[in-house]
């Protein structure tokens, strides 16, 4: 018995050493690499019961239950409640890419004021979530593409960032063929039509090879799209004088972007009531399609830059935007060379707190986001656009933009103190109030839409009356 006991103890010792060696030497490194839950920070955000379950290996179960809960909130429109769930699910199971992408979209797009203006204070958090998702899921293109899309479509500025993210997405093997085209679009937005053309042609060849390998409609459709994109880009490069500029022959030829067109921008901001402002102005471009970016923000808004902010400066996903900070941003649609918009900022005090003493109003137009028919005149980087008062080349690298700032005080916006009975108006020095009645040459008649002129026929330059007010 004594002998068998010694044998048993010996066996135990051997097994103990064996398991110890296996655990630390062989299994642990593999487990850390492939299976270890990376969930830093869940302890501070989970309830005790949830934390217990999560630690006990039921992270995915908790994540699933939480995500089901999120859907209920989506349906009821309780968007605020979804934010912590998104954060928890991504912390519990950082491999759930759809939660990252849905969360990023939700944070970036769904928080709006009463007039559907997006709350831009959330954008840095959305981008931080995208960054985190890409880092934790670097084996797939998805979060790289989604983050690039956020820059391309939502931020609509700083296009080198969009290009960079799309390039990283393209490096992944699972990148969808049809989605690769967006890199070409981003290059165009970034003022690099040559790179865009190069991308389209490369993808065209790829699609052609795929089509030869597999005769399916999606490859055919993709090839057709790329061919059209490459054609359009090439034609635009010629017509807009881009190629000539590269070759140094721009001065010798006649191109659409020559001579630069003066947009004659001017603007006026009127505080009609407390927190209600009217923005109006002139933009000398007849065809519709121009949107001038308007920003009203705290003058000392952190990380603000002309026409925007350093959107991706933070790596922290904050569920609560700075409530004491105000950032109102809108796109002013230009029609008949005018924009006129009333912005009621009184209904969303959590979005527009107006707690700071001074506010900066910015007007910003970058031709890189212009639609193609306007870019045909302005060029990709504004080489065909000018403004004798507000053209700036120092605001965005490599791009000629229209930019100006005005200032309002808190008392003016809230119509308090000395401004209780006065209407605060700030305007650019060249602002001219619009006339009530337009001359004939100012009325844009769309062929086929009107059978009769709206007004009695007038000689050019003749007015019906009223004049400037």
């Amino acid at each position: 018995m004594k002998k068998s006991k010694s044998m048993l103890i010996g066996a135990m010792a051997v097994l103990a050493v064996g398991q110890g060696l296996m655990s630390s030497g062989v299994i642990l490194p593999q487990w850390s690499k492939n299976y270890k839950p990376r969930a830093e920070g869940i302890d501070g955000q989970l309830g005790p019961d949830q934390l217990l379950f999560a630690l006990a290996g039921f992270r995915e179960l908790i994540a699933g239950i939480l995500w089901v809960q999120a859907d209920r909130f989506f349906e009821t429109g309780n968007y605020d409640a979804i934010l912590p769930i998104i954060r928890l699910v991504t912390l519990l199971d950082p491999k759930q890419i759809d939660v990252y992408s849905t969360g990023m979209w939700h944070i970036g797009y769904n928080f709006t004021d009463e007039e559907q203006r997006s709350d831009r204070r959330y954008i840095p958090s959305a981008l931080a979530l995208g960054k985190e998702g890409a880092t934790k899921n670097d084996y797939t293109y998805e979060m790289f593409f989604e983050t690039g899309w956020m820059w391309y479509h939502k931020v609509q500025d700083d296009f080198p960032k969009a290009v960079d993210w799309f390039l990283q997405a393209q490096e992944k093997k699972d990148m969808q063929q049809a989605r690769k085209n967006v890199l070409g679009m981003a290059y165009q937005r970034n003022g690099q039509p040559d790179k865009a053309l190069e991308t389209y042609l490369r993808l065209y060849n790829e699609s052609d090879a795929l089509l030869k390998k597999e005769q399916i409609y999606s490859h055919f459709q993709n090839k057709e799209t790329l061919e059209k994109n490459a054609d359009n880009t090439l034609i635009r490069m010629i017509q807009r004088g881009w190629l000539a500029e590269q070759e140094g022959t721009f001065d010798q030829g006649s191109y659409d972007t020559k001579p630069p067109f003066d947009v004659q921008f001017s603007a006026r901001v009127t505080v009609e009531e407390a927190r209600v402002i009217r923005v109006e102005g002139f933009w000398g471009v007849r065809p519709v399609g121009t949107r001038v970016r308007f920003i009203l923000r705290d003058s000392d808004y952190p990380d603000a830059i002309p026409g925007g902010m350093l959107w991706d400066k933070t790596d922290t996903v904050s569920l609560d935007p700075p409530r004491d900070r105000t950032w109102a941003q809108d796109e002013l649609f230009v029609r008949n060379q005018r924009f006129n918009r009333k912005l009621d900022l009184s209904k969303d005090p959590t979005m527009y707190s107006f707690l700071q003493p001074e506010y900066t109003i910015e007007f910003y137009y970058n031709p890189r986001v212009a639609p193609p028919h306007i870019q045909d005149k302005f060029g990709w980087s504004g080489e065909g656009m000018t403004d004798k008062n507000f053209l700036r080349t120092d605001v965005r690298e490599g791009s000629r933009v229209v930019f100006t700032q005005l200032t309002l005080t808190r008392d003016q916006i809230l119509r308090r103190g000395e401004w209780a009975d006065k209407v605060p108006i700030v305007q650019t020095k060249n602002f001219i109030a619009p006339r009530n009645v337009r001359t004939e040459d100012e009325i844009l008649v769309t062929p086929g839409m009107l059978s009769e002129p709206l007004e009695p026929k007038l000689n050019k330059g003749e007015r019906l009356g009223g004049g400037e007010n």
Partner: protein, 263 residues
């Protein structure tokens, strides 16, 4: 070997007749059946939520079954004095203990297999996937859970040789929690530059002593199949061998203690 198999067979029969285990099993199966309803409610994550929930239910149910099944095994035999009728036959104590353990593991296997079948059926119906190639990978996690539960059962049966069932319930449950969470904690400590060498030494020692239940939580790549896991099969074999080593240690320890115990 025959006495061991005989005791194991009897244990399986007892386990199947125990109402509390059947109720736990039924609740688990019920949750598995309603899981598709919950997954439909999840935005863009139906598949992930369905697999996550169902695997979680299987694991949770199995933990409860494994502990409840094994904590009472030896103490009940002693309390009801049925152990005398066994030990008076030519059956040695170690055979009794090993037979009981194998019976518990077989009962666990049976119950977990039932839940896995329900999981696969539910998944097939909800996802409209009927190809064995797509359904078979789902069984990977339950297989690993089975090794995990076998280890947990060994822990519980080890404790059952010298503590009361209630204490054993909390001891085994507690060890499961610690064993599931400790690896991440240990890794953080071992990688932190601020931790003193002495503390690192203790952490390393604890990591080698404690059974690591987290190694068997392999469900994440199944829920998020975009991840490419290298040498998956090799890993599964390694953790199974690791589990067998640990089970061996616990059973030998249990035998040594049970051998000296007065019944």
């Amino acid at each position: 070997m025959r006495p061991i198999l005989s005791i194991a067979g009897t244990t399986v029969g007892e386990a199947i007749r125990r109402r509390v285990l059947l109720i736990i099993l039924l609740v688990g199966i019920l949750f598995l059946a309603i899981a598709p309803g919950l997954s439909i409610l999840s935005a863009r994550q139906e598949r992930a939520v369905l697999i996550g929930l169902t695997l979680g239910v299987i694991q949770l149910t199995s933990v409860v079954i494994a502990i409840v099944l094994t904590v009472y095994m030896i103490p009940n035999e002693i309390e009801r004095r049925t152990i005398y009728t066994i030990l008076c036959k030519p059956v040695q104590r170690w055979q009794f203990l090993v037979g009981k353990y194998l019976g518990a593991v077989a009962a666990l296997a049976l119950m977990m297999a039932m839940m896995t079948v329900v999981l696969i059926v539910v998944y097939a119906i909800q996802q409209q996937v009927y190809s064995p190639d797509q359904l078979a990978p789902l069984a990977k996690a339950p297989v690993m859970f089975f090794v995990q539960m076998s280890l947990l059962a060994a822990v519980a049966i080890f404790f059952s040789t010298f503590v009361t069932p209630l204490v054993n319930f909390f001891l085994s449950g507690g060890l499961y929690l610690i064993g599931s969470a400790f690896s991440s904690f240990f890794e953080s400590i071992s990688q932190s530059a601020n931790v003193q060498p002495f503390a690192k030494g203790i952490a390393t020692f604890a990591n080698m002593i404690l059974p690591n239940f987290a190694y068997y939580n392999v469900q994440n790549p199944l829920i998020n199949p975009q991840q490419a896991i290298q040498n998956e099969t090799v890993y599964y074999i390694q953790v199974t061998v690791y589990g067998l080593f640990y089970i061996g240690i616990l059973l030998v320890g249990g035998i040594l203690i049970f051998d000296r115990r007065e019944v």
